[in-house]
């Protein structure tokens, strides 16, 4: 197959492109900059640019759509433009171009309202209940992608939960950098149970969804390692791999949630340079459990994670041990 991978500049997009390439498909990548992946054809542009999108999908059999605006903060319009309208443009263009498979990479947050998640399956995306602009826009995007599912155009939504790995700037580096400055507290003793996804597993699940699209189209699947851990243990493992001190102090979860809400409100009026240090959403994510029933995902996609949590941590340790120190900053 000729496969278009959007958003291949990120850690997950890059890994997906390589995985699909290795399994024998021809890969074209689509992102604003260069993908710098050997063996793929680069198409550059933004999903908000209809012309660039039309050019990118030309001649492809399948699309894996990862490109998105990912942030804890930001204005609704920005999220909508990229995540909702960008997806709409891409879906329409892909169908017109004759592609017959479309894997929508989504997020478990599209279906949940900030309460703890204990062994749930993949529920329907719900923009009205999803928390935060990112989750709301992704929920709307997943719904419109699945709406396009039909004869000759198989759409599958894959929702990897907390993807991490060497070189991850979203989670790992934020954690490590804060821990290094001893500004990383645990919330509520770090007792919340959270499942995560090592990047290679997320990529192989997405590739599996591409393979199985004809059989499982129209459905959504949450993907994780299936190895939940307490936040305390996860953070300690990550910090241990990076050689920085593990968090040693704890803030009551309720305090953090309150502080997060306050900072969020202030930030929306006086935005800081980067992202707010703590949002209510983030506080909730770090103080309530998030783990999923993986039975259906594994059976439907005929997929198993190949890198265990411990093996993933080991790879992270190697990466930190060999990576040039300046890459950390």
């Amino acid at each position: 197959m000729r496969v278009l991978v959007t958003g291949a500049s990120g850690m997950l997009g890059r890994t997906v492109a390589r995985t699909v390439l290795e399994s024998g498909h021809a890969v074209r990548t689509f992102q604003r900059g260069a993908s710098s992946i050997e063996g793929v054809q680069d198409a550059r542009g933004s999903v908000t640019d209809r012309g660039a999108v039309t050019a990118a999908v030309e001649g492809v059999d399948a699309v894996i759509h990862l490109a998105a605006k990912v942030s804890f903060a930001g204005r609704a319009e920005e999220f909508n433009a990229v995540n909702v309208e960008g997806t709409r443009t891409l879906v329409e263009a892909a169908r017109r171009a004759g592609a017959h498979r479309f894997v929508m990479v989504s997020s478990p947050s599209v279906a949940h309202a900030g309460l703890s998640i204990v062994g749930d399956g993949a529920r329907a995306a719900d923009p009205a209940r999803a928390r935060g602009e990112y989750a709301r826009s992704k929920a709307a995007a997943e719904l419109l992608a699945l709406e396009a599912d039909g004869p000759g155009f198989s759409v599958v939504a894959v929702r990897p939960h907390i993807v991490w790995g060497p070189g991850d700037t979203q989670l790992i580096e934020r954690v490590v950098e804060r821990a290094r400055r001893r500004r990383l507290p645990l919330l509520g003793g770090g007792l919340a149970l959270i499942d995560t996804t090592y990047v290679d597993n997320a990529a192989s699940a997405i590739a599996a969804a591409l393979d199985r699209a004809a059989e499982v189209h129209g459905r959504s699947f949450v993907v994780t390692n299936g190895e939940p851990r307490t936040v305390a243990e996860l953070l300690a493992a990550i910090c241990g791999a990076a050689g920085v001190p593990a968090p040693a102090w704890s803030v009551p979860a309720a305090v953090a949630r309150g502080a997060g809400g306050l900072i969020e409100r202030v930030w929306s009026v006086h935005p800081g340079a980067d992202e707010p240090p703590m949002t209510r959403f983030l506080a909730e994510q770090l103080s309530t459990s998030h783990w999923y029933d993986q039975r259906e995902t594994r059976a439907a996609l005929a997929w198993q994670p190949s890198v265990s949590l411990d093996a993933g941590i080991e790879r992270l340790r190697l990466w930190y041990a060999t990576a040039p120190a300046d890459r950390l900053f």
Binding site: S116, V118, G119, G188, G189, G190, L191, A192, L193, G226, E227, P228, R229, T230, A232, E233, A236, A237, G240, A253, S287, T288, S289, W291, D293, Q294, R295
Partner: protein, 966 residues
């Protein structure tokens, strides 16, 4: 007086408001039906009826449930029954009977017509009959009633024998026992001045009734119950109903109530009673009365439920299950065909001949050697020394007490609750009751006062024999029955406690009247009972002797420990207890001349039946861990004991106090040849230390439960051998069945059959009964000395015999066929090893169901507890069944300095090193290792961790809940 009733026509509930106003009520069930009433006047009823929906779906009812609400509710009470019956019928499973449900609003109640006519019981019964005639209700009909509606439904039942197929009752009554006052709550309402005010003019009665649900009714449900009673005029029926309670013979409904209650006693159709004992009006007393009338009824008491049992407990599915059990569709495969049991490796030995428990007492009535020895006799002056009771004295006391009890009104079949600590007094009373054919009710003080009270009240004893403190509790807490004290109390005290007699008084009374019982009487020498010139039939009946006649009647109700939910009453017949004695005798060679140290109550009581000389050590019997090495050895010395029973907690304490032993005491312990310990597992190293104290003894740790006291047996040597083999197997080649884990309890004793019912991926024991090794399943047992059934726990009985031949042959009468082999699901989980030994892996509710399969916690816990720094560990599952994650909770040994700060917290995440170690040694992908200062354990054994509660706690903590102690 009640206000003048205003007339109002019947109406449909949903015409009064939006459909959301009646949660759970389907508008399509509601209909108005006009029929003549008892006086021939045309009246309109509102009723719920699922016939329309059944016909729409093309299903023809195979029977009708006729449901009658009480006061002050309406047919809304039965919404879950309508829903469940309709769903079951429409689910399309052809083998299920299709039940039409008709739930009426009685006239002047609910949304039925307000007639303005004062209706009492005779009219109500006739009104209902006229309605079912108008509806052309055909058979079979199962009636269903609650509260005063129970009486009306039973009135209909006895008037329609040609249609009646069964009766179902929720908290109701058909008889006010003589000499018993009306319940106080009712007396209050019945005060003339209060009646109208509480029931009609205000909503006080209505509100009070609706307020007593456990847990409280949801506000919208409460609103729905109140909906038809919003005005004074609409409440007239409530007042009339309360006024219709016949307080005495002069009441206009008295005769009808008596007619119904007498006729009920002649009903032979299946009966089901679901009861909420937390009812201030329809208390257990009325359940007892109903059970005397319908002794074949299936009963379940829900300890936490009250008057509105139908709201407190999901009764509808239970009713449907009961109906399915009792009313099969013709042509349906019989249950027996589905539950064939594979051939036993050790064929079931012939059932032992019945020997009454008191037979030894009779044989040794002239023997002056010791039967019972008390090291610290109760009631005797301190340091007064050992009390020895000879066989002769014991036999005479048993006779005297039996005669005295008989003279005090204790009859065959009466329940006698014994609140007496183990010792000679208890032994005498116990055997006296057995001999009389009275049912002894034995609950352990270890249940605590609340648990003991629940057990005693629930068992509804006719008599209570107890020590002073027990009788004081009985008085304070209102336990039922005639009260008899063990010692003669000063008369003001006796009066205050409601005590009518004492044991010494009984003995005197009995000695004066016991002549007929004394000497070689009928029970003693069966051969003499074949009367000369007796008819052939009579001769045949008596050939077995009168003792044989009571063999299959109930002898005892023993309560479980209650460590897993409310204590359950376990019912044994004389034959079953006799079989237990035989098994003990055969297994441990206990007989005349055996000195028996009885440190474990259930076996202690059987000493006289075994012919052994039993000795009770000086200890607080309600707390086994008070047994010291000294007391243990002294007891052994007193009777030259060769056999000793001690609970695990007692043995632990014996080991902790060995230094005080004298040479003579050590010598006495050296004579013990058999030491038994049962109740909770003991690790082999601990048993090896016990062995040092009793060097000549073979140490046994049998496996059993209140429902079957001796199922398997194993010795210390065999344990060590089994563990060594298991270790070798675990280290051996892969592909072999998984190495056993848990506690090896050996092989079944003679006469016991063991099976496993394999667990499915959801931890449900759904597999057929099997002896296959290496498969984890629920342990299912069968033996002649197994329990008969649970007391008033039909649902529990049903689950305990599910999928066994016993389920198919479930007794419908009080005396099941003697040959029927009984089976029991233990609720324990285990595995057979390749040599047929049973390994117990824990309790069924504690099985963890992960996405990759089931996990029993005991094995990983044992591995984890071997880690340095870990005192105890518990493995529990969090999350939905079938995809649970495993959490280890560990209790450290003495907190070391760095961890002391951590353990000040109610719970912490273990250090990464410890977590890694737990995962490594347990072989389980544990998602979290939590550290707590102390794992909560039960008081009774001080060893059983309540993993179910711990799982709930762990789930809450890991979901981001409050950080609190487990």
């Amino acid at each position: 007086m009640s206000p003048k009733p205003t007339l109002e026509p019947a109406s449909l509930p949903h015409s009064h408001g939006p459909s959301g106003e009646f949660p759970g009520l389907d508008e399509r069930w509601s209909r108005l039906v006009t029929a003549p009433d008892s006086a021939g006047v045309s009246r309109t009823w509102h009723l719920l009826d699922n016939l329309g929906l059944l016909e729409e779906a093309g299903r023809t009812p195979t029977g009708t449930i006729l449901a009658v609400h009480g006061n002050p509710t309406w047919s809304y009470l039965w919404r879950s029954v309508l829903a469940a019956a309709t769903d079951a019928a429409l689910s399309g499973e052809a083998e299920h009977p299709v039940w039409r449900v008709i739930a009426v609003d009685q006239l002047d109640m609910g949304f039925s017509e307000r007639t303005g006519v004062d209706r009492s019981l005779p009219e109500r019964v006739a009104d209902l009959g006229a309605l079912t005639d108008a509806l052309s209700v055909g058979g079979p009909v199962v009636t269903l009633g609650h509260d005063w509606g129970g009486v009306v439904s039973l009135g209909w039942a006895v008037d329609h024998p040609e249609l009646l197929a069964g009766v179902m009752l929720l908290n109701t009554a058909v008889h006010q026992p003589e000499n018993a006052p009306l319940p106080a709550a009712l007396r209050l309402v019945l005060q003339r001045s209060l009646l109208a005010a509480s029931t009609v003019r205000t909503t006080a009665f209505l509100d009070t009734t609706l307020a007593i649900a456990h847990p409280a009714l949801a506000p919208d449900v409460r609103r729905a119950f109140r909906a038809p009673y919003r005005s004074t005029a609409r409440r007239a029926g409530i007042g009339a109903f309360v006024a219709d309670i016949p307080v005495d013979a002069s009441h206009r409904s008295f005769a009808e109530l008596r007619r119904v209650s007498s006729a009920v006693a002649r009903l032979t159709v299946p009966a089901l009673m679901l009861w909420g004992p937390r009812d201030t009006v329809f208390s257990d007393r009325y359940l007892g009365d109903l059970l005397r009338r319908l002794p074949h009824a299936d009963v379940t008491r829900f300890e936490k439920a009250g008057h509105l049992v139908g709201e407190d407990v999901p009764v509808a599915p239970m009713m449907l299950a009961w109906l399915a059990d009792n009313f099969t569709v013709p042509g349906k495969a019989t249950a027996a065909a589905l539950t064939e049991v594979p051939d036993s490796p050790a064929p079931h030995t012939a059932e032992p001949a019945f020997r009454p428990l008191w037979a030894t007492l009779d044989e040794r009535f002239d023997d002056s050697s010791a039967a019972v020895v008390e090291m610290a006799p109760r009631g005797a002056p301190r340091r007064s020394g050992i009390r020895t009771v000879s066989w002769r004295l014991l036999a005479r006391r048993v006779d005297d007490v039996a005669a005295g009890l008989a003279a005090s009104g204790v009859k065959r079949g009466h329940r006698v609750s014994l609140l007496v600590p183990p010792g000679a007094d208890l032994t005498a009373v116990l055997y006296a009751c057995l001999r009389l054919g009275a049912v002894v009710v034995v609950a352990d003080a270890g249940l605590g006062l609340a648990g003991l009270g629940r057990a005693v009240r629930g068992a509804r004893p006719d008599h209570i024999i107890g020590i002073g403190t027990a009788l004081a509790a009985a008085r304070t807490l209102g336990w039922p029955g005639q009260k008899i004290s063990t010692t003669t109390l000063p008369s003001p005290v006796a009066a205050a406690l409601g005590v009518t007699r004492s044991l010494p008084q009984l003995v005197r009374l009995g000695a004066a009247t016991a002549a007929p019982l004394r000497g070689p009487d009928l029970a003693r020498s069966p051969a003499s009972t074949v009367g000369v010139g007796a008819g052939e039939e009579e001769a045949e009946a008596s050939a077995e002797g009168p003792a044989e006649a009571i063999a299959d009647t109930v002898a005892a109700i023993l309560f479980t420990s209650g460590s897993t939910g409310p204590a359950k009453g376990v019912v044994y017949t004389h034959r079953q207890l006799s079989a237990l004695v035989e098994v003990l005798r055969a297994r441990y060679d206990i007989g005349p001349g055996t000195g028996l140290v009885a440190g474990f109550a259930p076996f202690a009581l059987l000493g006289p039946a075994l012919g052994a000389t039993s000795v009770t050590p000086a200890m607080n019997v309600t707390s086994p861990k008070t047994l010291t090495a000294h007391a243990f050895a002294q007891a052994a010395q007193a009777v030259d004991a060769t056999v000793a029973f001690a609970s695990p907690a007692a043995l632990r304490n014996v080991l902790a106090t060995p230094d005080a032993l004298t040479t003579a005491e050590r010598t006495a312990l050296g004579r013990v040849t058999t030491l038994l310990s049962a109740g909770a597992p003991l690790p082999a190293p601990l048993l090896q230390r016990v062995q040092a104290l009793v060097p000549s003894a073979s140490i046994h740790t049998p496996y059993g439960m209140t429902e079957g006291l001796l199922m398997t047996d194993i010795t210390l040597e065999q344990i060590l051998e089994a563990e060594a083999e298991a270790e070798a197997e675990a280290a051996g080649e892969s592909g072999a069945p998984p190495a056993p884990v848990g506690v090896c309890v050996g092989t079944p004793v003679d006469g016991v059959e063991l099976r496993l019912s394999a667990l499915d991926e959801l931890g449900v024991a759904s597999g057929p009964l099997s002896t296959e090794p290496g498969v984890t399943g629920e342990i299912v047992v069968s033996a002649a000395h197994l329990k008969d059934h649970y007391d008033q726990l039909w649902l529990t009985d049903r689950e305990a015999t599910r999928g066994t031949p016993s389920a198919a042959a479930r007794p419908r009468t009080a005396a099941p066929p003697r040959t029927a082999q009984r089976w029991h699901r233990t609720g324990d989980v285990g595995r057979f090893d390749s040599r047929g030994r049973l390994w117990v892996e824990g309790r069924l509710p504690h099985v963890i169901t992960t996405a990759t399969g089931i996990l029993t916690p005991v094995g990983p816990e044992q591995s984890t507890e071997r880690l340095p720094g870990v005192r105890r560990a518990a493995f529990v599952g969090v999350g939905p069944r079938g995809t649970q994650q495993v959490v280890a909770v560990v209790e450290p040994t003495e907190p070391t300095e760095p961890t002391r700060r951590r353990t000040r917290r109610p719970v912490t995440v273990a250090a990464p090193e410890l977590a890694a170690e737990v995962r490594r040694v347990s072989g389980v992908d544990v998602v979290a290792v939590l550290v707590v200062a102390e794992l909560p354990t039960d008081i009774r054994h001080n060893s059983k961790i309540d993993r179910s509660a711990l799982a709930v706690w762990a789930a809450a903590v890991l979901a981001g809940g409050r950080r609190q102690r487990p």
